[in-house]
């Protein structure tokens, strides 16, 4: 009994403290929650769009030689390693130049049929919607746009067509972003976000595609997001069944897997505490909107002190962009290969 009253006293004190934090404007819960939801939503978006693009790309790339695809994959996996080392070694000294980094061998744009190479990039947040904010004040919206710009450059250099849902610091609804992707007839859609997770429990990167989930945590987030989207859970199930009666879910998952592993390979070299949270599906209403495979990638975690410092460095953002690029590109080539072998 003595222990029960001790537990009670402690719990009461914690409940009071938590309320005092709210009164005093310390809002870890709110910030944390909002960013989690947003990130998850975005992640889903990315995963769905991206797989679609990859899928599309694989068909586009079908005339390419298998040997070339292999080279490219090797280059892609090697590139992050080389880059990561200087970043770690210099710990806080940004290596501005990116020219020393190996990147996947450029494709000859001529071998890519025009219809199969459009990637829609969706830099998360913008305008009044800051996303999460690093302890130093750097907002997510700036980071996502910067990474998207870098990724766009890489993709265009390799013969891909890129459409951005925003190119400036403007706010845009998720619905609008989906509509833009559809209007642009993108082959895949990738939404870029940065996570915020409570410091105590380090979590890493994760990539989402549209689909059902077995994870109650994700279900919870999805349910929250779907409320905002105007779908009931019942509506949503129906939509989901229709949307994924086709092949896109598989493609989305494979794309997500490629992007996730490229991201993780890169980041883990720089920040060994990053966890690979893997590829997940989540039933996000917003992803239903894009007509192409779409995925959402949480490329980093602003709540992790080391990650936050690294994200302030241009070289690190370039590393992330290249990891995303190699994920997309290797997936496209893999599909191409499978297509050639399997007929």
């Amino acid at each position: 009994m003595a222990s029960l009253s001790r537990i009670k006293r402690q719990i009461v004190r914690q409940a009071v403290d938590e309320n005092l934090d709210t009164i005093n404007g310390v809002l870890p819960g709110i910030r944390n929650d909002r960013s989690r939801s947003e990130i998850t939503l975005l992640s889903v978006f990315f995963y769905v769009a991206l797989p679609a693009a990859v899928f599309a790309l694989s068909y586009i790339l079908s005339p390419m030689a298998v040997g070339e695809a292999t080279d490219s994959r090797l280059a892609a996996t090697r590139a992050p390693v080389r880059r990561a080392e200087p970043v770690v070694a210099e710990a806080g000294v940004p290596a501005e130049s990116t020219t020393t980094y190996a990147s996947p061998r450029p494709l000859d744009p001529a071998v890519m049929p025009l219809t199969l190479r459009r990637v829609v990039l969706d830099p998360g947040h913008g305008g009044s919607n800051l996303g999460t904010v690093a302890p130093g004040g750097l907002p997510e919206k700036v980071i996502t746009l910067d990474i998207a710009d870098r990724l766009r450059q890489l993709l265009e250099d390799h013969g891909y067509d890129v459409v951005m849902t925003r190119e400036t610091d403007e706010s845009k609804s998720l619905k609008k972003r989906g509509d833009m992707a559809n209007e642009a007839e993108g082959d895949i859609f990738l939404s870029i976000h940065v996570n915020w997770i409570e410091l105590q429990e380090i979590r890493g990167i994760e990539t989402f595609y549209l689909g059902p989930t077995d994870d109650p945590y994700v279900t919870e987030l999805a349910a929250t997001e779907n409320q905002g989207s105007g779908y009931s859970l019942a509506d949503f199930r129906g939509i989901l069944e229709r949307v994924y009666a086709d092949v896109r879910q598989k493609e989305s998952r494979e794309l997500a897997t490629a992007v996730q592993s490229a991201l993780f390979d890169s980041l883990t070299k720089v920040n060994p505490t990053v966890r690979n949270r893997g590829v997940k599906s989540a039933p996000f209403g917003v992803l239903v909107r894009t007509e192409m495979p779409a995925i959402l990638a949480e490329v980093s975690c602003l709540s992790n002190a080391l990650e936050a410092r690294l994200l302030a460095m241009p070289s690190y953002r370039q590393l992330l962009a290249e990891a995303l690029f190699s994920g997309i590109d290797s997936y496209a080539r893999e599909l191409n290969q499978a297509y050639q072998i399997g007929g």
Binding site: N19, I30, D33, A223, T224, Q227, S232, A234
Partner: protein, 348 residues
């Protein structure tokens, strides 16, 4: 009969626990008053309605009865204040002030300090913490907001190695108690609960019997009378009009399917939360699962969840006796246990 009652001149303190639910809200006070209302708030739609109703705002049954003349709201419908909705925040205010008016006694009048613990759906606390506080702060002298399943756990003194599963109307809230105030990680919310069953049942019944007319209200009443999971006891036969003529329908199977539609997500969430507990305590938590909320009255629910625990080593699920007031009573217990010095800090 308030705590500081009798001391002349000094304001009396009324301590209250409030459960702001998505469908029902309850209040328990230190003066022994307990009330429950439907979580509906309605504003007359125009001048005419205002004149007829002679009120600026209607609450609970009153609001439901006059719904045609009202902008009717359930402020926490899916466990959340709708984003950017001033009206939802206002409705929360109206609900709380109405609940307080039900327990305040005239004799204490203005010379009464109110200290309130308000339990809200876990998801609302996670997402709308500041909004909720802003909306409710001015109505009481001191305010503490907690998650609803936590209030339930506190009231039942299930503070260590316990799991509360609160299946209400709009949300199913889960909360593991580890001997500390639960963090976000100790809690889960599914926006799938009694309302979801109602939707399922409505869809199943209307699509099978398109010739008849069913109202959402009838469906919910049938559910509350006959709901079950697992084995059916007796056939469920209900009556609904077909072209104006009362006709009997057997909805035994539809009832089962609708009620069981919650089970996969609920069991999965329950098992997942247990799995996150430190391994040496998991068995204790499994043997201390507490099922609360109006939807815990679905016949067989406790057994089926207990059955599901067998797959992960077995456990025990207990169903609370008084789901209506268990949350507000828990809030009241917490409010009484918080020292006066803390209440001072929490005053607005």
């Amino acid at each position: 009969m308030t705590e500081d009652g009798g001391k002349s001149g000094k304001p009396r303190v009324l301590t209250v626990g409030v459960d702001l639910g998505t469908s029902r809200s309850a209040v328990s006070a230190s003066n022994g008053e307990r009330h429950v209302i439907d979580s509906y708030v309605g504003w007359p739609v125009d001048m005419v309605a205002r004149k007829v109703l002679k009120k600026k705002v209607l609450i609970g049954d009153d609001a439901v009865e006059n719904r045609v003349m009202l902008d009717l709201r359930r402020p926490l419908e899916k466990g959340l204040i709708r984003e950017g909705s001033e009206r939802d925040a206002e409705a929360v205010q109206e609900l709380l002030s109405h609940l307080l008016s039900l327990v305040k006694t005239d004799e204490d009048g203005d010379n009464q300090k109110v200290r309130a613990v308000v339990g809200v759906p876990a998801e609302a606390l996670r997402v709308n913490k500041q909004q909720l506080r802003n909306a409710m702060e001015g109505l009481v002298d001191s305010l503490m907001i907690v998650s609803e399943p936590f209030a339930v756990a506190y009231g039942l003194e299930a503070l260590l190695h316990a799991l509360v599963v609160d299946i209400g109307a709009g949300t199913s809230d889960f909360c593991v108690m580890n001997g500390r105030y639960p963090t976000d990680d100790d809690q889960r919310t599914l926006t799938m609960a009694g309302d979801y069953i109602d939707e399922q049942l409505f869809d199943l019944v209307t699509s099978k019997h398109s010739e008849a007319t069913f109202s959402r209200h009838m469906i919910r009443e049938w559910k509350e009378q006959h709901s079950y999971v697992g084995e059916a006891k007796d056939p469920i036969v209900v009556s609904a009009p077909v072209q104006g003529k009362p006709t009997d329908f057997d909805i035994t199977e539809e009832m089962k399917v609708a009620c069981e539609s919650l089970l996969p997500s609920v069991t999965e969430t329950m098992i997942d939360l247990v799995a996150r507990v430190e391994p040496e305590y998991q068995a204790k938590v499994r043997s201390n699962v507490i099922l609360s909320g109006g939807s815990c009255l679905i016949r067989g629910m406790g057994q089926v969840l207990q059955e599901a625990l067998k797959d992960v080593g077995g456990g025990q699920v207990r169903v609370v006796k008084d789901p209506v007031f268990v949350g507000s009573d828990g809030g009241l217990a917490l409010a009484k246990d918080a020292p006066a010095s803390d209440w001072e800090k929490l005053s607005s």
